[in-house]
Structures are given as C-alpha cells and as structure tokens.
C-alpha cells in the first residue's frame, strides 16, 4: 500500500478526538467564515479555552485564522481531512476487495453443500 505522511495524519486524528473541537469544526462547516467571538458564543467554555482549541486545530492545519481590522475570523481548511479520509479509504478498499472474494467463495461452497444435501434427500 502507498505511503502516507504519518505525522500529518496523527495531527488530524488527534485534533478530531476532542468533542469541543469537533463541534467547532461542525460550526465552521455551516458558516464559511466566522469571527472568534461568534464562534465561541454557543460553547459553555471561556474564550481562552476556545482559543486553545483553535490553536490545536490550527497546528493540525484544519483551520486558518485571518485578521480583518480588529476582527479575527476562522475558516475551515479541507486538505488534511481529505488526506485522513484517503488513508482510511485505502484500507477500506484493501479489505473490501478481499471480502468480495470471500463472499464469492462462501457462496460457491454453500451451493455445493446445498446440492449435496438435495441429492442425499432424493436418495
């Protein structure tokens, strides 16, 4: 199987493990670009805690922050997630292809056993 950059994937998966960070990402999916104060509002945690989560997401390359005047806005970046999905999909393809053949083989066997059983029944 092809090689993939382990450290990027580790960052992505580690960032996604935290429920608050997932909630932040979910919110960013809905709104393309949002200010940090708007983003923090629905959460029960304080702004500095939100900032810490944004740092983790930023380091994992999952979000990008930009400043317009005095307002800092946050935006979702798709690349690392796509990479993580590609990695999982590769494994999925690997097993899917094998399971397809497992199914075919088992069904052949079943057909053989059934016809043998039928013959026994007839005799």
């Amino acid at each position: 199987m092809a090689k993939s950059p382990a450290s990027t994937l580790d960052h992505t998966f580690a960032a996604l493990v935290d429920p608050t960070r997932r909630a932040i990402l979910a919110r960013l999916e809905q709104e393309n670009r949002i200010s940090i104060s708007d983003l923090a509002r629905p959460f029960a945690i304080k702004l500095p805690a939100v900032m810490k989560h944004l740092d983790v997401l930023g380091e994992a390359g999952l979000i990008i922050r930009s400043k317009q005047g005095r307002t800092v806005t946050v935006q979702l970046v798709a690349g690392p997630m796509e990479e993580a999905m590609d990695w999982l999909r590769r494994y999925e393809r690997f097993w899917s292809a094998r399971l397809d053949r497992l199914v075919a083989r088992a069904e052949e066997e079943e057909a053989k056993v059934q016809s043998a059983e039928l013959r026994e029944h007839d005799e």
């Binding site: 998966f13 079943e110 056993v113």
Partner: protein, 152 residues
Amino acid sequence: MTSLTIIRRIAARPAIVFDVLTTPEGIGCWWGPDDGPVLVAETDVRVGGRFRVRFRLRDGTEHESSGEYIEVVRPTRLVMSWRWTEGGEPDEAGEESRIEIDLRPVDIGTALTFTHARLRTEASRNSHEGGWNGALDKLERHFQKLEERNLA
C-alpha cells in the same frame, strides 16, 4: 482509536463462511490481491493459536501478515490480532491492530460484520479520550459535504 467496519450479506450459512475465513484453502481464495497468488496460509484456529499469510503482488513484491487468534467461537465470532510482518502499510509496520468478525445468521444466510480496529495505535496513544468513531463519522460527513459542494 481508528477502526474500520465493513458489513456484507452472504448467501451462505455462517459455518461455511467461518471455514472460508479460517481454513488455508479458504484463505487461499480470498486473502491475496486479485492478480497475485497467496503463497503461504497457515492457521491454528484456537484461542492462542497463530496464523500467517503471505502473498505476492503482480509487481513481484511479497507481503506477509500474521497474528494470534484471540476469540474463536465457531461459527459466530472470530477475533485476531493482526500485523504486517513484511511489506504492507508503512505507517502500520510492526504495529499490532485487531480484526473482529461477527457472523449472524439471517434469512439469506449470513450477515458478516468485519471490523479492523486499533489502527494507528500511535495516534490513539496520543489521545486517551477515545471518541474515534464519532470523529471518523464526523470526518466522513464532512468529506461527503465537501464532495457535494465540489460537484455542485
């Protein structure tokens, strides 16, 4: 913890599916890639017994994986540890993951649930909170949305 689950419905009874999963003859038919042969299939199907499967790809490279049977309940459940001992996924080299297979009798034959769990143990060691499945569902939904957006 990263895991991958695949579900298949098979028109064969669970005992037959179980034997195709575990006998060397069965494994020889499905484990290898389409265009290369399975070179070695050894199984000792009992708790604590080991298996070893070696196959060759069309590019000539040989890959081998092995592991230990952790749960053996014929014909409904099979759990084994799994690792690449040669070739395979570089990220996973030497890392032990786990394969869990459940076979449930259904009207057409068998519902097979295949889970490859504990993938990327390094990543999961870094994050004790768990919640992988949720994270991955999220990831998948996100990705689908992106694709929809790209297609739109």
